[in-house]
């Protein structure tokens, strides 16, 4: 048993309000006496990050790490409130809502930090030395290996479109994807799809015709595919699939292009312990941190695959001000309207 599994401080609380954290865990070194409490607010499941965090506090025994797991929208609202209205700020914000964190940085809510490790990051994974993309997680297509014949498994969006064009398809009502209104991540993926390729319109049309299901949560989608309720799910975060391995779930990295999400790390302007926050950043970017992220599938190394993706098909969601468009009220409204129109017919049925 690894020590992180038996840490005394691991307490998981269920969320009680919309603005509150979903779960909390505390990490501290077995030896040594912590003198500083580092408050981390993150969208990542505690279970996934626990080994890393424990390794971090072991290496830095003076730090007592309090980890709060938040929903991405709630975390954005909380951070914005801390920035603009001076409520209590976290020391670290670590979120998969990349566009939200970019917006926070654009609103001057972050603290700059620079080191050799941050400079080594590719330009698409940092901005203004205030926001850093730590992970690399693909948006994948998953399918039920038992129910989908091997020949029909779509490995590109075009194949998926062809599959959805068949008139009396076995896939009717059996395709799932994120509901962009309910899921921040789903919105980001769909939005990036709409910018990335012309296939997006056809995809929406296909979803509409096959009465695809839009649902809120990764867990539900993955379970649905595993149990055969859905045959195919589109734009699922690969790391979640890997985190809950199922026997009958196959994963496809679309070969026309695969979006890669990089969870973003930010030190809020009002953070009380900026030095320790930077230490955590350094740890995550260190070779040890990156290895451990890869172990928990937060850092996808495509070069290990049997059929590696061509470089041209790898589309990292770049951390830059263009993502601010995704935060625009009207743009979002228009996008959501388009989405609703697509899935409305299904509801009418």
């Amino acid at each position: 048993m690894r020590p992180w599994l038996i840490i005394a401080g691991l307490v998981i609380l269920r969320a009680t309000g919309p603005m509150a954290q979903e779960a909390v865990a505390e990490f501290k070194s077995d030896t040594g006496t912590p003198t500083t409490e580092l408050l981390v607010r993150s969208t990542t499941d505690i279970e996934i990050l626990a080994p890393l965090l424990q390794a971090f506090v072991t290496a830095n025994p003076t730090i007592h790490l309090r980890y709060e797991q938040w929903g991405s929208n709630a975390l954005y609202d909380d951070s914005l409130a801390a920035c603009e209205r001076g409520s209590e700020a976290a020391d670290v914000v670590f979120s998969s809502g990349v566009h939200q964190i970019v917006d926070l940085v654009n609103r001057a809510c972050a603290t700059p930090y620079r080191s050799a490790a941050t400079d080594a990051l590719p330009v698409s994974r940092r901005w203004r030395d205030e926001i850093w993309g730590i992970t690399q997680e693909p948006a994948v297509i998953i399918y039920n290996t038992a129910l989908v014949p091997k020949g029909t498994v779509p490995d590109t969006r075009f194949a998926l479109l062809d599959l959805m064009r068949q008139p009396e398809s076995a896939f009717t009502g059996k395709i799932a994807t994120y509901d962009v209104e309910a899921s921040g991540l789903g919105f980001l993926f769909a939005f990036m799809d709409s910018l990335e390729a012309t296939t997006f319109g056809s995809l929406l049309e296909g979803f509409s015709r096959l009465k695809a299901v839009a649902t809120c949560c990764s867990a539900e989608i993955i379970d649905g595919v595993a149990e055969g309720r859905y045959l195919i799910a589109y734009n699922v975060l690969g790391s979640y699939v890997d985190a809950r391995p199922r026997r009958d779930v196959g994963v496809i990295l679309p070969r026309d292009y695969t979006l890669f999400l990089s969870r973003t790390f930010m030190i809020p302007k009002q953070a009380a312990h900026k030095r320790e926050a930077a230490q955590l950043l350094e740890f995550l970017l260190s070779p040890q941190g990156q290895t451990m992220l890869a172990e928990v599938n937060l850092f996808q190394r495509t070069d290990r695959d049997a059929r590696p993706l061509p470089d041209s098909a790898r589309r990292a969601i770049p951390i830059d001000p263009k993502l601010l468009v995704a935060m625009d009220r009207h743009r979002r409204q228009l996008f959501v309207e388009q989405w609703r129109t697509t899935f409305a017919r299904e509801r009418e049925d």
């Binding site: 001057a108 001000p321 468009v325 625009d328 009220r329 009207h330």
Partner: protein
């Protein structure tokens, strides 16, 4: 305290003074260029990024659409792509409706005053963005639709990091080039100035190393200015050398020439004292003759010293040789030397102009005349004329002249025979020769059909010739 005024104070060299001048000029130029480059860089950055800002604002304005009576903004990603070209700058934008209500965007973006917004041209303004300086532009779009009429204002702003970075880059580039150019200029200025100064330096070195008693000429090559100085110094040193030589000669001649007559006078005096009283008048007479002869010798020697001195110290002047001849006759010195002898003056009506020194020439002619009076036979003529392009002043007598061997050594500095015999003819002619030499002329003595003629020939000066 020892008096150290004899030691020249060490002052800065010409090279270092010129270099300091050049360096300060370059430094001033560098400062001016830096300021200009900075102003230029800032301006260029402002223009460049203002265009990006305007492009983004116009992109957004284009995307405004009227749907069911309300403006809807479908923000294009390209607008933010433009703004993202300023990599590290934060962005603010807002779209305001006709009544100033926020349609979409950031609520903290200020809309410019309506007075500014009346014109259709984009309005740029500076404002703060979350406490950081930023640049904004507002673009208006007017709608006149069935269900919507009014103006939509799109305001886009950006912080100034990229502008500052660009201005800095431009300034730095300009400064780098200027700096390199300045270094090259300094280096070449140093080389040029040093090579120009080299002859001066060499002259200084030569002068420093020179023995103070060394009066030989120095090298006079190099540029004109330096050559002039060197020539002047050489002339000066030559004159000094000549004068020192003349002085030495004068002293040695004087000592030499006086020794014999003075010894003779002493001997005569002693004899007069010891001899019979009957012999005394005879002895005294001899003594008087000796003394007179000594006086003449002294006159001659002083006159020669005068001539030599003047030859080096008095610049020659334009004069008429006829005036010289007239003056010599008029002074009537010959009356003392040979009373009763007629001296004829032979001059034409044309001026004979030469460059010369009046006193020296008079001395020379007097000596020639005295020589003729002493050794020649009447009639004696003094004449002036031009012959073979030379101005000549001559003295002629009807005698045979001096024997050949005397002629050949005549005019040498001193002659023992002359001195020992107590007469000063040799010395007198040496004065004539000196004058001829000093005035670039020549002296000759020749026998002619009508007698013996001594001629001082000088180059004619035609420049000042009066018609």
């Amino acid at each position: 305290m020892a008096d150290r005024s004899g030691v020249a104070p060490v002052t800065t060299s010409l090279l270092s003074r010129v270099m300091v001048g050049v360096l300060s000029l370059l430094a001033i130029g560098g400062c001016v260029i830096t300021l200009a480059a900075f102003a230029y860089g800032r301006n260029a950055a402002r223009q460049a990024y203002d265009r990006l800002l305007l492009g983004a604002a116009q992109d957004i304005a284009e995307s405004v659409d009227i749907r069911s009576g309300a403006p809807v903004v479908d923000i294009p990603v390209s607008a933010f792509g433009l703004l993202a070209l300023a990599t590290d700058d934060r962005i603010a934008y807002a779209v305001h409706g006709p009544n100033g209500a926020l349609i979409t965007g950031h609520d903290r973006v200020r809309q410019p005053e309506p007075a500014d917004a009346r014109s259709a041209a984009p309005v740029y303004f500076d404002d703060a963005m979350q406490g950081e300086k930023a640049r904004f532009v507002t673009v208006l779009r007017r709608f006149t639709e069935r269900d919507f009429s009014g103006t939509v204002a799109v305001t886009v702003g950006q912080t100034l990091r990229a502008r500052h970075a660009m201005a800095y880059e431009l300034t730095r580039g300009a400064m780098l080039v200027t700096g390199l150019g300045g270094l090259a200029l300094i280096l070449s200025a140093y080389l040029v100035i040093r090579s120009a100064m080299r002859p001066l330096e060499r002259m200084a070195e030569e002068l420093t190393a020179r023995d103070p008693y060394d009066l030989t000429p120095m090298m006079a090559d190099g540029p004109a200015e330096v050559a002039v100085v060197a020539h002047a110094m050489n002339r000066f040193m030559q004159r000094l050398d000549r004068q020192v030589g003349a002085m030495k000669n004068l002293i040695s001649d004087t000592a030499h020439q006086l020794r014999t007559p003075v010894a003779a006078i002493r001997a005569q005096t002693e004899l007069a004292l010891e001899d019979d009283p009957d012999q005394q008048p005879q002895r005294l007479e001899r003594l008087v003759r000796r003394t007179r002869s000594l006086g003449e010798l002294l006159d001659q020697m002083l006159s020669r010293a005068l001539v030599i001195h003047r030859a080096d110290n008095t610049p020659p002047e334009l004069m008429d040789l006829r005036d010289i001849a007239l003056r010599v006759i008029e002074e009537q010195d010959h009356e003392v030397l040979a009373p009763g002898v007629e001296v004829e003056l032979v001059i034409g009506d044309r001026a004979v102009m030469v460059m010369g020194d009046e006193i020296s020439l008079c001395e020379a002619v007097k000596n020639m005349l005295a020589n003729a009076l002493r050794h020649g036979q009447a009639p004696i003529q003094v004449g002036v004329g031009i012959e073979d392009g030379d101005a000549e002043i001559w003295v002629k007598d009807a005698g045979e002249g001096a024997p050949e061997e005397v002629l050949s050594r005549i005019g040498q500095r001193f002659e023992r025979s002359a001195a020992s015999s107590g007469n000063s003819a040799g010395l007198g002619l040496s004065i004539v020769k000196s004058v001829a030499g000093a005035l670039n002329g020549s002296f000759r003595m020749e026998r002619t059909e009508s007698g013996f003629r001594a001629t001082l020939a000088l180059p004619v000066d035609t420049s000042g010739e009066q018609p």
